[in-house]
Protein backbone atom coordinates (compact mmCIF):
# COMPACT_ATOMS: atom_id res chain seq x y z
CA UNK A 1 0.00 0.00 0.00
CA UNK A 2 1.05 3.56 -0.68
CA UNK A 3 2.92 5.12 2.28
CA UNK A 4 0.78 8.23 2.17
CA UNK A 5 -2.34 6.11 2.13
CA UNK A 6 -1.13 4.29 5.25
CA UNK A 7 -0.53 7.52 7.10
CA UNK A 8 -3.92 8.85 6.04
CA UNK A 9 -5.59 5.60 7.16
CA UNK A 10 -4.28 6.16 10.68
CA UNK A 11 -6.14 9.45 11.05
CA UNK A 12 -9.10 8.28 9.03
CA UNK A 13 -9.70 5.19 11.13
CA UNK A 14 -9.50 7.29 14.28
CA UNK A 15 -12.06 9.63 12.74
CA UNK A 16 -9.55 12.39 13.32
CA UNK A 17 -10.85 14.87 10.81
CA UNK A 18 -8.42 17.65 11.68
CA UNK A 19 -5.31 15.54 11.21
CA UNK A 20 -6.68 13.75 8.16
CA UNK A 21 -7.57 16.96 6.34
CA UNK A 22 -4.40 18.84 7.24
CA UNK A 23 -2.21 15.89 6.29
CA UNK A 24 -3.71 15.73 2.79
CA UNK A 25 -3.64 19.49 2.33
CA UNK A 26 0.03 19.46 3.24
CA UNK A 27 0.68 16.80 0.59
CA UNK A 28 -1.14 18.89 -1.98
CA UNK A 29 0.72 22.07 -1.04
CA UNK A 30 4.07 20.32 -1.14
CA UNK A 31 3.10 18.73 -4.46
CA UNK A 32 3.96 15.31 -3.11
CA UNK A 33 0.65 14.10 -4.40
CA UNK A 34 -1.50 14.90 -7.44
CA UNK A 35 -5.28 14.85 -7.57
CA UNK A 36 -5.61 11.58 -9.48
CA UNK A 37 -3.36 9.73 -7.04
CA UNK A 38 -5.11 11.31 -4.11
CA UNK A 39 -8.53 10.20 -5.28
CA UNK A 40 -7.57 6.81 -6.69
CA UNK A 41 -4.96 5.66 -4.21
CA UNK A 42 -6.16 7.24 -1.01
CA UNK A 43 -9.70 8.55 -0.92
CA UNK A 44 -11.63 6.05 -3.03
CA UNK A 45 -10.10 2.96 -1.38
CA UNK A 46 -10.68 4.46 2.05
CA UNK A 47 -14.33 5.06 1.26
CA UNK A 48 -14.82 1.66 -0.30
CA UNK A 49 -13.30 -0.26 2.55
CA UNK A 50 -14.53 1.50 5.61
CA UNK A 51 -13.71 -0.86 8.45
CA UNK A 52 -16.13 -1.23 11.23
CA UNK A 53 -15.45 -3.50 14.15
CA UNK A 54 -18.70 -2.72 15.85
CA UNK A 55 -21.33 -5.40 15.98
CA UNK A 56 -24.11 -2.89 15.95
CA UNK A 57 -24.90 -2.01 12.37
CA UNK A 58 -26.35 1.35 13.36
CA UNK A 59 -23.09 2.44 14.92
CA UNK A 60 -21.28 1.38 11.76
CA UNK A 61 -23.61 3.46 9.62
CA UNK A 62 -23.05 6.44 11.87
CA UNK A 63 -19.27 5.98 11.69
CA UNK A 64 -19.51 5.65 7.92
CA UNK A 65 -21.20 9.04 7.79
CA UNK A 66 -18.47 10.64 9.85
CA UNK A 67 -15.80 9.13 7.65
CA UNK A 68 -17.42 10.10 4.40
CA UNK A 69 -17.71 13.59 5.88
CA UNK A 70 -13.93 13.68 6.20
CA UNK A 71 -13.49 12.66 2.58
CA UNK A 72 -16.06 15.22 1.47
CA UNK A 73 -14.21 18.02 3.23
CA UNK A 74 -10.95 16.98 1.60
CA UNK A 75 -12.49 16.84 -1.87
CA UNK A 76 -13.99 20.31 -1.47
CA UNK A 77 -10.69 21.69 -0.20
CA UNK A 78 -8.88 20.14 -3.14
CA UNK A 79 -10.75 22.15 -5.76
CA UNK A 80 -8.18 24.98 -6.06
CA UNK A 81 -5.54 22.30 -6.64
CA UNK A 82 -7.75 20.73 -9.31
CA UNK A 83 -7.86 24.04 -11.16
CA UNK A 84 -4.14 24.52 -10.77
CA UNK A 85 -3.42 21.05 -12.10
CA UNK A 86 -5.69 21.56 -15.07
CA UNK A 87 -3.72 24.69 -15.94
CA UNK A 88 -0.47 22.76 -15.68
CA UNK A 89 -1.78 19.98 -17.85
CA UNK A 90 -2.63 22.58 -20.45
CA UNK A 91 -5.43 20.52 -21.97
CA UNK A 92 -8.51 22.21 -23.21
CA UNK A 93 -11.57 20.45 -24.47
CA UNK A 94 -14.80 21.75 -25.85
CA UNK A 95 -16.65 18.99 -24.08
CA UNK A 96 -19.36 19.71 -21.54
CA UNK A 97 -19.84 16.92 -19.05
CA UNK A 98 -22.70 16.75 -16.60
CA UNK A 99 -22.19 14.54 -13.56
CA UNK A 100 -25.11 13.40 -11.47
CA UNK A 101 -26.63 10.63 -9.38
CA UNK A 102 -30.02 8.94 -9.76
CA UNK A 103 -32.92 9.99 -7.51
CA UNK A 104 -32.52 8.85 -3.91
CA UNK A 105 -28.85 8.10 -4.29
CA UNK A 106 -27.28 9.79 -1.32
CA UNK A 107 -23.70 8.77 -1.99
CA UNK A 108 -22.36 11.49 -4.22
CA UNK A 109 -18.68 11.76 -3.36
CA UNK A 110 -17.75 9.40 -6.19
CA UNK A 111 -19.64 11.66 -8.58
CA UNK A 112 -17.88 14.67 -7.12
CA UNK A 113 -14.49 13.07 -7.73
CA UNK A 114 -15.49 12.12 -11.25
CA UNK A 115 -16.44 15.76 -11.87
CA UNK A 116 -12.92 16.80 -10.89
CA UNK A 117 -11.50 14.21 -13.27
CA UNK A 118 -13.50 15.75 -16.11
CA UNK A 119 -12.18 19.15 -15.08
CA UNK A 120 -8.63 17.80 -15.18
CA UNK A 121 -9.31 16.57 -18.72
CA UNK A 122 -10.14 20.14 -19.69
CA UNK A 123 -13.87 19.69 -19.88
CA UNK A 124 -16.50 22.04 -18.66
CA UNK A 125 -17.69 19.85 -15.77
CA UNK A 126 -21.08 20.51 -14.27
CA UNK A 127 -21.66 18.69 -11.02
CA UNK A 128 -25.38 18.30 -10.48
CA UNK A 129 -24.89 15.95 -7.58
CA UNK A 130 -26.98 13.61 -5.57
CA UNK A 131 -30.65 13.07 -5.22
CA UNK A 132 -31.22 15.41 -8.12
CA UNK A 133 -34.77 16.29 -8.94
CA UNK A 134 -33.78 15.10 -12.33
CA UNK A 135 -36.95 16.23 -14.00
CA UNK A 136 -35.55 19.72 -13.53
CA UNK A 137 -32.27 18.58 -14.97
CA UNK A 138 -34.16 17.02 -17.80
CA UNK A 139 -35.50 20.46 -18.77
CA UNK A 140 -32.04 21.93 -18.43
CA UNK A 141 -30.58 19.50 -20.96
CA UNK A 142 -31.76 21.62 -23.86
CA UNK A 143 -29.89 24.58 -22.36
CA UNK A 144 -26.73 22.80 -21.31
CA UNK A 145 -26.27 20.69 -24.45
CA UNK A 146 -23.99 18.21 -22.73
CA UNK A 147 -21.63 15.97 -24.71
CA UNK A 148 -21.30 13.54 -21.86
CA UNK A 149 -23.66 12.67 -19.06
CA UNK A 150 -22.01 10.69 -16.29
CA UNK A 151 -24.19 8.96 -13.71
CA UNK A 152 -22.75 7.64 -10.49
CA UNK A 153 -24.61 4.85 -8.70
CA UNK A 154 -23.61 3.32 -5.37
CA UNK A 155 -26.62 1.40 -4.19
CA UNK A 156 -27.61 -1.37 -6.58
CA UNK A 157 -31.31 -0.82 -6.01
CA UNK A 158 -30.87 2.60 -7.60
CA UNK A 159 -30.00 0.93 -10.89
CA UNK A 160 -33.73 0.50 -11.41
CA UNK A 161 -34.23 4.28 -11.31
CA UNK A 162 -31.04 4.81 -13.32
CA UNK A 163 -32.38 2.73 -16.19
CA UNK A 164 -35.56 4.79 -16.27
CA UNK A 165 -33.53 7.98 -16.04
CA UNK A 166 -31.33 7.02 -18.98
CA UNK A 167 -34.41 6.24 -21.09
CA UNK A 168 -35.92 9.60 -20.25
CA UNK A 169 -32.72 11.52 -20.87
CA UNK A 170 -32.28 9.85 -24.25
CA UNK A 171 -35.79 10.80 -25.22
CA UNK A 172 -35.01 14.51 -24.85
CA UNK A 173 -31.48 14.59 -26.25
CA UNK A 174 -31.29 16.43 -29.54
CA UNK A 175 -27.60 16.03 -30.23
CA UNK A 176 -25.10 13.25 -29.80
CA UNK A 177 -24.35 12.69 -26.14
CA UNK A 178 -22.61 9.80 -24.45
CA UNK A 179 -24.21 8.48 -21.30
CA UNK A 180 -21.68 6.80 -19.07
CA UNK A 181 -22.02 5.20 -15.66
CA UNK A 182 -19.79 4.27 -12.76
CA UNK A 183 -19.84 3.54 -9.06
CA UNK A 184 -20.04 0.71 -6.57
CA UNK A 185 -23.34 -0.58 -7.92
CA UNK A 186 -21.47 -1.97 -10.93
CA UNK A 187 -18.48 -3.36 -9.13
CA UNK A 188 -19.54 -6.98 -9.14
CA UNK A 189 -21.39 -6.87 -12.39
CA UNK A 190 -20.20 -4.54 -15.11
CA UNK A 191 -22.56 -5.90 -17.76
CA UNK A 192 -25.26 -4.14 -15.80
CA UNK A 193 -24.05 -0.87 -17.33
CA UNK A 194 -25.14 -2.06 -20.77
CA UNK A 195 -28.29 -3.67 -19.37
CA UNK A 196 -29.52 -0.33 -18.08
CA UNK A 197 -28.81 1.36 -21.37
CA UNK A 198 -25.53 3.19 -20.74
CA UNK A 199 -22.94 3.59 -23.51
CA UNK A 200 -19.95 2.95 -21.32
CA UNK A 201 -18.71 2.13 -17.85
CA UNK A 202 -15.89 4.05 -16.15
CA UNK A 203 -13.98 3.36 -13.00
CA UNK A 204 -10.79 5.39 -13.24
CA UNK A 205 -9.27 8.62 -14.42
CA UNK A 206 -7.79 6.73 -17.37
CA UNK A 207 -11.27 5.62 -18.43
CA UNK A 208 -12.56 9.19 -18.29
CA UNK A 209 -9.54 10.49 -20.17
CA UNK A 210 -10.07 7.88 -22.89
CA UNK A 211 -13.72 8.88 -23.30
CA UNK A 212 -12.94 12.60 -23.39
CA UNK A 213 -10.17 12.07 -25.96
CA UNK A 214 -12.37 9.97 -28.21
CA UNK A 215 -15.02 12.68 -27.93
CA UNK A 216 -12.59 15.33 -29.18
CA UNK A 217 -11.80 13.52 -32.39
CA UNK A 218 -15.42 12.87 -33.22
Amino acid sequence: MDERALEFQKYFNDENKEQAVSYILRLLHDKTIDIVSLYELILAPSLNHIMCEHEDERICIWKEHIKSGIVRTIVECAYPFVMEERKMRGVKSSITAVILCPPEEYHDIGARMAADFFTLCGCDAIFVGSNTPYHDFHHAISMIHPDIIAISVSDYYNLVATKRMIEEIRSVLTKHCQIIVGGCAFQRNRQTAIKIGADDYVESFADIERIVRSGVTE
Binding site: E104, Y156, Y157, V160, K163, R188, N189, K195, I196
Partner: protein
Amino acid sequence: MGTIMELKNINKIYGTQIQTQVLYDINLSFEAGSFNSIIGQSGSGKSTLLNIMGTLDRPTTGDVFIKGVNVNEMTDNELADIRNLLIGFVFQFHYLLPEFTAIENVLMPYRIRNQKVTKEVKSKAEEYMELVGLSQVRNNPSSKMSGGQQQRTAIARALINNPSLILADEPTGNLDSDSTENIYELMRDINQKLGTTFIIITHDRRIAEKADRIVEIKDGKINLDLTK
Protein backbone atom coordinates in the same frame (compact mmCIF):
# COMPACT_ATOMS: atom_id res chain seq x y z
CA MET B 1 -27.60 -25.64 -5.60
CA GLY B 2 -29.73 -25.98 -8.75
CA THR B 3 -32.83 -24.33 -10.04
CA ILE B 4 -35.94 -24.52 -7.91
CA MET B 5 -38.34 -22.56 -10.09
CA GLU B 6 -38.28 -22.03 -13.80
CA LEU B 7 -40.75 -20.18 -16.00
CA LYS B 8 -40.62 -20.72 -19.75
CA ASN B 9 -42.40 -18.43 -22.19
CA ILE B 10 -45.20 -17.58 -19.81
CA ASN B 11 -48.13 -15.64 -21.24
CA LYS B 12 -51.24 -14.77 -19.33
CA ILE B 13 -54.42 -13.48 -20.84
CA TYR B 14 -57.41 -12.75 -18.63
CA GLY B 15 -60.97 -12.88 -19.91
CA THR B 16 -62.62 -14.52 -22.88
CA GLN B 17 -64.88 -11.83 -24.36
CA ILE B 18 -62.61 -8.94 -23.65
CA GLN B 19 -59.10 -10.23 -23.43
CA THR B 20 -56.36 -8.50 -21.53
CA GLN B 21 -52.86 -9.81 -21.74
CA VAL B 22 -51.04 -9.18 -18.48
CA LEU B 23 -47.88 -11.27 -18.92
CA TYR B 24 -45.82 -11.43 -22.07
CA ASP B 25 -43.41 -14.24 -22.74
CA ILE B 26 -41.78 -14.34 -19.32
CA ASN B 27 -38.65 -16.44 -18.90
CA LEU B 28 -37.14 -16.58 -15.44
CA SER B 29 -35.39 -19.03 -13.23
CA PHE B 30 -34.53 -18.97 -9.55
CA GLU B 31 -31.71 -20.74 -7.77
CA ALA B 32 -32.44 -22.83 -4.70
CA GLY B 33 -31.45 -20.95 -1.54
CA SER B 34 -31.54 -17.50 -3.14
CA PHE B 35 -33.29 -14.40 -1.81
CA ASN B 36 -35.12 -12.55 -4.58
CA SER B 37 -37.34 -9.54 -4.89
CA ILE B 38 -39.83 -8.66 -7.58
CA ILE B 39 -40.71 -5.01 -7.96
CA GLY B 40 -42.85 -3.02 -10.37
CA GLN B 41 -45.74 -0.62 -10.50
CA SER B 42 -49.19 -1.58 -9.39
CA GLY B 43 -50.95 -3.50 -12.14
CA SER B 44 -47.73 -4.58 -13.84
CA GLY B 45 -48.51 -8.27 -13.33
CA LYS B 46 -46.44 -9.19 -10.26
CA SER B 47 -49.18 -10.99 -8.33
CA THR B 48 -50.31 -12.81 -11.44
CA LEU B 49 -46.75 -13.99 -11.95
CA LEU B 50 -46.35 -15.10 -8.34
CA ASN B 51 -49.66 -16.94 -8.39
CA ILE B 52 -48.55 -18.78 -11.50
CA MET B 53 -45.29 -19.73 -9.79
CA GLY B 54 -47.24 -20.98 -6.80
CA THR B 55 -49.62 -22.99 -9.05
CA LEU B 56 -52.53 -20.98 -7.68
CA ASP B 57 -53.18 -19.81 -11.22
CA ARG B 58 -52.35 -21.22 -14.65
CA PRO B 59 -50.56 -19.48 -17.47
CA THR B 60 -52.47 -19.15 -20.75
CA THR B 61 -49.42 -20.55 -22.51
CA GLY B 62 -45.98 -21.55 -21.29
CA ASP B 63 -44.54 -23.89 -18.72
CA VAL B 64 -43.73 -23.80 -15.05
CA PHE B 65 -41.06 -26.17 -13.78
CA ILE B 66 -40.73 -26.72 -10.08
CA LYS B 67 -37.56 -28.57 -9.14
CA GLY B 68 -37.31 -29.57 -12.78
CA VAL B 69 -40.80 -31.05 -13.05
CA ASN B 70 -43.33 -29.50 -15.40
CA VAL B 71 -46.41 -28.46 -13.46
CA ASN B 72 -48.59 -29.28 -16.48
CA GLU B 73 -47.61 -32.90 -16.17
CA MET B 74 -48.48 -33.22 -12.52
CA THR B 75 -51.59 -34.94 -11.23
CA ASP B 76 -53.96 -33.08 -8.92
CA ASN B 77 -52.48 -34.90 -5.94
CA GLU B 78 -48.97 -33.97 -6.90
CA LEU B 79 -50.05 -30.36 -7.33
CA ALA B 80 -51.66 -30.35 -3.90
CA ASP B 81 -48.42 -31.70 -2.47
CA ILE B 82 -46.41 -28.98 -4.16
CA ARG B 83 -48.66 -26.30 -2.74
CA ASN B 84 -48.67 -27.78 0.74
CA LEU B 85 -45.19 -29.12 1.16
CA LEU B 86 -42.84 -27.43 -1.23
CA ILE B 87 -44.17 -23.89 -1.21
CA GLY B 88 -45.11 -21.59 1.63
CA PHE B 89 -47.21 -18.51 0.94
CA VAL B 90 -47.19 -15.15 2.69
CA PHE B 91 -49.63 -12.50 1.55
CA GLN B 92 -50.09 -8.84 2.35
CA PHE B 93 -53.15 -9.72 4.36
CA HIS B 94 -52.16 -12.60 6.53
CA TYR B 95 -55.53 -14.40 6.54
CA LEU B 96 -55.04 -15.73 10.05
CA LEU B 97 -58.09 -17.34 11.56
CA PRO B 98 -59.13 -14.91 14.32
CA GLU B 99 -60.77 -17.49 16.56
CA PHE B 100 -57.55 -19.47 16.89
CA THR B 101 -54.39 -18.72 18.82
CA ALA B 102 -51.19 -17.79 17.07
CA ILE B 103 -49.68 -21.24 17.40
CA GLU B 104 -52.90 -22.95 16.29
CA ASN B 105 -52.77 -20.83 13.17
CA VAL B 106 -49.18 -21.87 12.59
CA LEU B 107 -50.18 -25.53 12.88
CA MET B 108 -53.17 -25.15 10.54
CA PRO B 109 -51.49 -26.15 7.27
CA TYR B 110 -50.18 -29.26 8.96
CA ARG B 111 -53.51 -30.08 10.50
CA ILE B 112 -55.32 -29.68 7.17
CA ARG B 113 -53.04 -32.27 5.68
CA ASN B 114 -52.41 -34.70 8.47
CA GLN B 115 -55.32 -34.13 10.84
CA LYS B 116 -53.43 -35.20 13.94
CA VAL B 117 -50.73 -32.92 15.28
CA THR B 118 -47.83 -34.93 16.63
CA LYS B 119 -45.60 -33.91 19.49
CA GLU B 120 -42.73 -33.36 17.05
CA VAL B 121 -44.76 -30.98 14.95
CA LYS B 122 -45.98 -29.17 18.02
CA SER B 123 -42.41 -28.61 19.13
CA LYS B 124 -41.44 -27.53 15.64
CA ALA B 125 -44.22 -24.94 15.76
CA GLU B 126 -42.87 -23.76 19.11
CA GLU B 127 -39.43 -23.54 17.60
CA TYR B 128 -40.71 -21.41 14.71
CA MET B 129 -42.60 -19.17 17.12
CA GLU B 130 -39.29 -18.68 18.85
CA LEU B 131 -37.57 -18.00 15.51
CA VAL B 132 -40.11 -15.32 14.63
CA GLY B 133 -39.81 -13.90 18.16
CA LEU B 134 -43.31 -14.73 19.34
CA SER B 135 -42.87 -17.48 21.91
CA GLN B 136 -44.21 -15.19 24.66
CA VAL B 137 -47.50 -14.55 22.89
CA ARG B 138 -47.93 -17.84 21.06
CA ASN B 139 -51.10 -18.72 22.93
CA ASN B 140 -52.79 -15.36 22.42
CA PRO B 141 -55.73 -15.17 20.06
CA SER B 142 -54.37 -14.04 16.71
CA SER B 143 -56.90 -11.23 16.57
CA LYS B 144 -55.30 -9.68 19.67
CA MET B 145 -51.88 -9.32 18.08
CA SER B 146 -50.33 -6.32 16.36
CA GLY B 147 -50.03 -6.20 12.57
CA GLY B 148 -46.34 -7.04 12.70
CA GLN B 149 -46.95 -9.97 15.07
CA GLN B 150 -49.71 -11.29 12.85
CA GLN B 151 -47.46 -11.13 9.83
CA ARG B 152 -44.70 -12.94 11.72
CA THR B 153 -47.24 -15.58 12.66
CA ALA B 154 -48.12 -15.91 8.99
CA ILE B 155 -44.44 -16.46 8.21
CA ALA B 156 -44.15 -19.15 10.88
CA ARG B 157 -47.27 -20.73 9.37
CA ALA B 158 -45.69 -20.67 5.92
CA LEU B 159 -42.71 -22.52 7.39
CA ILE B 160 -44.50 -25.30 9.21
CA ASN B 161 -44.32 -27.86 6.41
CA ASN B 162 -40.63 -27.04 5.80
CA PRO B 163 -41.13 -25.60 2.32
CA SER B 164 -38.13 -25.16 0.04
CA LEU B 165 -39.66 -22.00 -1.35
CA ILE B 166 -41.55 -19.12 0.16
CA LEU B 167 -43.58 -16.89 -2.14
CA ALA B 168 -44.48 -13.61 -0.51
CA ASP B 169 -46.79 -11.01 -2.04
CA GLU B 170 -46.14 -7.62 -0.41
CA PRO B 171 -45.66 -9.15 3.03
CA THR B 172 -44.91 -5.77 4.60
CA GLY B 173 -47.41 -3.79 2.55
CA ASN B 174 -49.49 -3.17 5.62
CA LEU B 175 -46.82 -2.55 8.22
CA ASP B 176 -45.05 0.42 9.70
CA SER B 177 -41.40 0.92 9.00
CA ASP B 178 -40.00 -0.78 12.12
CA SER B 179 -42.12 -3.89 11.60
CA THR B 180 -41.07 -3.94 7.96
CA GLU B 181 -37.43 -4.00 9.00
CA ASN B 182 -38.17 -6.82 11.47
CA ILE B 183 -40.01 -8.91 8.90
CA TYR B 184 -37.17 -8.43 6.46
CA GLU B 185 -34.59 -9.49 9.06
CA LEU B 186 -36.69 -12.50 9.89
CA MET B 187 -37.04 -13.66 6.30
CA ARG B 188 -33.33 -13.18 5.73
CA ASP B 189 -32.59 -15.14 8.88
CA ILE B 190 -34.79 -18.03 7.74
CA ASN B 191 -33.15 -17.91 4.32
CA GLN B 192 -29.73 -18.25 5.93
CA LYS B 193 -30.58 -20.74 8.67
CA LEU B 194 -32.89 -23.06 6.76
CA GLY B 195 -31.74 -22.42 3.19
CA THR B 196 -35.31 -21.53 2.18
CA THR B 197 -35.60 -19.80 -1.19
CA PHE B 198 -37.53 -16.52 -1.08
CA ILE B 199 -39.31 -14.74 -3.90
CA ILE B 200 -40.80 -11.57 -2.49
CA ILE B 201 -42.97 -9.02 -4.25
CA THR B 202 -42.34 -5.73 -2.56
CA HIS B 203 -42.83 -2.01 -2.79
CA ASP B 204 -40.41 -1.48 0.00
CA ARG B 205 -37.00 -0.40 -1.11
CA ARG B 206 -35.43 -1.60 2.15
CA ILE B 207 -36.41 -5.15 1.28
CA ALA B 208 -35.62 -4.93 -2.40
CA GLU B 209 -32.20 -3.35 -2.01
CA LYS B 210 -31.08 -6.09 0.34
CA ALA B 211 -32.19 -8.96 -1.87
CA ASP B 212 -29.58 -10.85 -3.89
CA ARG B 213 -31.59 -10.20 -6.98
CA ILE B 214 -34.12 -7.64 -8.15
CA VAL B 215 -36.48 -8.43 -10.99
CA GLU B 216 -38.48 -5.48 -12.25
CA ILE B 217 -41.73 -6.17 -14.07
CA LYS B 218 -43.12 -3.47 -16.32
CA ASP B 219 -46.33 -3.84 -18.30
CA GLY B 220 -46.16 -7.61 -18.00
CA LYS B 221 -42.58 -7.91 -19.20
CA ILE B 222 -39.25 -8.19 -17.45
CA ASN B 223 -37.83 -4.70 -17.60
CA LEU B 224 -34.71 -5.33 -15.58
CA ASP B 225 -33.09 -8.29 -13.88
CA LEU B 226 -30.26 -7.37 -11.53
CA THR B 227 -28.03 -9.60 -9.48
CA LYS B 228 -26.00 -8.14 -6.67
